[in-house]
Subunit: 226 residues, 2 copies
């Protein structure tokens, strides 16, 4: 594959991403994607045989490049304390999504409209590395974080939260504003750049919230924050 081909492929995928994110798989029009990419329909089909293939390429790239690594920080990465996980996750998550604000809604919507096919596309289906030695969920790598929290609770350092609920809450606090972005922009009368700033501020705020929920003797503005 030549350099030009790679370039064009990327141009097409970027255009396709934009259109798919706005209209979904069903609503997107190949012509619109071609226009957006500044090329013609013929070339579109020359690179990606058909709409479905193009869509899957885009979806896969998005999911594997962003969703998987990000959730990995919270759930899979080894050698991190709970506190480190939270801080790193929230920061990278919000920072990343600030650059790709439409990602979550796009991914969620398409998964919802066809869970099996979409989740099957992703890295052999092991989104959360569910497969343990015995096949039981307890073996899952994705439960490291859950274990660590349970440990902290048992040792009396943490409040007795339900670890799964806690994880979902953290992710929710980070993701939701992007999902509801148009409403929030409307409600708070914010433009794109103001929304961005708002989300930058949110990093510290969410970390604070998470710590306050979890940690028994938490005092904000300690050097937990950098």
């Amino acid at each position: 594959m030549t350099q030009e081909e790679k370039q064009t492929e990327q141009i097409i995928m970027d255009a396709a991403r934009k259109v798919f994110q706005q209209s979904g798989l069903g609503g997107a029009r190949m012509q619109q994607i071609a226009d957006e990419a500044g090329i013609n329909k013929a070339l579109l089909h020359y690179y990606f045989r058909n709409k479905k293939k193009l869509f899957e390429a885009v979806f896969k790239e998005d999911f594997n490049r962003y969703m998987i690594p990000l959730s990995g920080i919270l759930l899979r990465e080894t050698g991190l304390t709970v506190e480190e996980r939270i801080v790193t996750f929230v920061q990278s998550f919000i920072r990343t999504l600030n650059q790709h604000p439409h990602l979550p809604l796009f991914v969620m919507h398409e998964i919802a409209s066809n869970p099996n096919r979409m989740l099957g596309l992703v890295k052999g289906g092991d989104v959360f590395s569910q497969v343990g030695e015995t096949g039981k969920p307890e073996d899952s790598e994705s439960k490291v974080f859950v274990w660590q929290i349970q440990e902290g609770i048992d040792e009396g350092r943490y409040h007795s939260v339900n670890p799964e609920q806690f994880v979902i809450s953290i992710i929710g606090m980070c993701v939701y504003p992007f999902v509801a972005r148009p409403i929030i922009k409307f409600w708070l009368k914010k433009e794109d750049d103001q929304f961005k700033d708002f989300m930058e501020d949110r990093q510290r705020e969410v970390i604070d919230y998470a710590f306050r929920i979890l940690i028994k003797d938490y005092q904000p503005y300690a050097d937990n924050h950098r």
Copy 2:
């Protein structure tokens, strides 16, 4: 309008809702809606002149019947304390969405794909009752809650959160699990009814989190919970 007409209209709207929620406006097929409703295309167009009109009817009903009243509990209802707002909001919100799990993603996706038109549809556009006497956002009814929190902070009862961030966090903790429902079901290996139970439990958990974030001397399992 006769009784039969109302019935049929409702049957159609329920079918349409189902299809729209799964495929979005662009992806939905009129034939599929007719099939789902157990009627024919001709009758579909007899009741709702065209696809757009049908869609708007469904969207409007959803938004006005669920989203507006629910957000009202948190943001507009008068005569409630902050604590009462949070408890009532979280409970009704999760309970309602447990009965309509696809609502949030549907609403959010459609708003995102056409913010102006969609937000314009809703109760004359005043989703958050933004119009105050001077037109400044500060006059908005939707800021009552924000004021109340600010008051609590000033009086030293609450931690000094950013009220807007706090509101979004509460909503996010409630909404996100429904937005990410297929992923969560997959991750936690839950079926529909287990997910429902999980969300029932979540009510108390989220209320706990919210109070712990906000209230300085909060002790869980006090009679804040009923």
